[in-house]
Symmetry: C2
Subunit: 265 residues, 2 copies
């Protein structure tokens, strides 16, 4: 399971303040905490805090001063992504391209040039997909474009677009069905990733809904998630799901054993 | 989701003592607690405490004095099942028949005569199944025998036989695959049930493994479980899995709302 820590995001008040005041402490704290919790990538998103690329680069540099965990460059501005790619010390993840032709043309060659991995979000000009079929159609389009432009399939992460259960309840089943079908796109299958926290948006049971959906999605074929890696119950659910799938060998300390193989601050 | 409370079982020390001393208090406590937690049936199993049918009937009567929840008659002695069927006030569940010809011949007609539901465990003379195919073969045999002998399909619960993750780790995937295939036996599909706690037997993370496997099994098609219904995390996981499947409508109080529709002590 590839865990992408969601917490260094300008949408959170403490990050917003940290960027505004150039206070490295908060960013360093979350870089360290998420890495210790097992994050494989740390997502960095400046949100609406600033539109200066220097501020975005400052965030990435602050994280890189603290931990060696690769960066997930979470931004929809191509210029920001380019500058970020230049300073990343470890091979990063670009979050993201959509299935929009112009986006694919611009972003895939950048990923290839820098040896980065890439999240392909199954949205296009028409907006968010409404069913499994549309998700699969867009996933196939992204997958084909990536292969054609020379991105190795193992560097592609397909994202079926998770929608809030509270407002679009029937979508959850479509997303799980899409994941099952994404698995059939190639052998070995591409990585499949979700922005997990969307599923529980504005609900009263955030952690419970996140971990239950994560278990269902892993069973469907998911192998990566942008999520709250500091939610121990969530990470334990992911590890246990993979244990039941026979992907790790059972030992009485299987939870600790799994993290021990990952965490190197 | 049909929840069958596992706790009134001679395998537990307090039940063993209660039966030995004819102390109704303990049985009444578990009958009430499990019913309040949402049990649809209360499993009653005398275990190795006594081989007197009167003791088994005393257990059932004690439960029936306390709550109106139907009984799951958990016993492999036909004579005990017969006597129990005579005293059950609500339509019970017989737990269980195997796919053994002699068993099917004896138990199915009893279920039909008393209007009881029946668990068909996918084992035969050769013992426990080792893969999904064998489970499906035995499920089909039980299903066919039930229909031929006049048991309505909605009264049949097929059990794929859960094995301990700690000792037979690859079996979990076979069991999930078997559940997916059981669903295809008829339309609407038969009930599918597991003895959940087996999965976590002798592990260090009983509740975590139980609830994670339960979520995966419900997503595969399970709709009933013999389990620790007093484990709130477990029941919440089951409710949330069905919520994600769009089987209940989301409300901020969806956990309470679900139990409110079930619990009538």
């Amino acid at each position: 399971m590839i865990l992408i820590g969601e917490r260094i995001n300008g949408g959170f008040k403490d990050i917003q303040r940290a960027v505004g005041e150039k206070d490295k402490t908060i960013l360093k704290k979350w870089a360290k905490r998420q890495t210790e919790a097992g994050a494989d990538y740390l997502d960095v998103n400046i949100g609406a805090v600033s539109n200066k690329v220097e501020d975005f680069l400052w965030m990435i540099e602050t994280v890189q001063e603290t931990v060696e965990t690769p960066i997930s460059i979470d931004c929809n501005k191509v210029e920001f992504i380019k500058k970020a790619l230049e300073i990343c010390k470890k091979e990063p993840l670009i979050n993201s391209t959509t299935a929009h032709d112009g986006k694919l043309e611009e972003i895939i060659p950048l990923a290839v040039k820098y040896g980065a991995s890439l999240i392909g979000v199954c949205m296009d000009e028409a907006g968010s997909p409404k069913d499994a079929n549309k998700r699969v159609e867009l996933a196939a389009k992204i997958f084909t474009a990536a292969i054609e432009k020379g991105l190795p399939p193992e560097k592609l992460f397909l994202d079926p677009v998770v929608m809030p259960l509270k407002f679009l309840q029937p979508q959850a089943s479509h997303i799980l069905e899409a994941i099952r079908q994404f698995k059939l796109l190639s052998d070995p299958p591409p990585h499949i990733v979700v922005g997990l926290s969307n599923i529980s948006s504005q609900t009263t049971e955030i952690s419970l809904i996140n971990r239950t959906f994560l278990t269902m999605a892993i069973e469907a074929g998911l192998n990566a998630a942008i999520c709250d890696v500091t939610d121990t119950d969530l990470v334990n659910a992911a590890i246990t799901t993979e244990l039941i799938q026979n992907k790790h060998i059972y030992s009485d300390s299987f939870l600790k054993a799994y993290l021990a193989t990952k965490v190197k601050t």
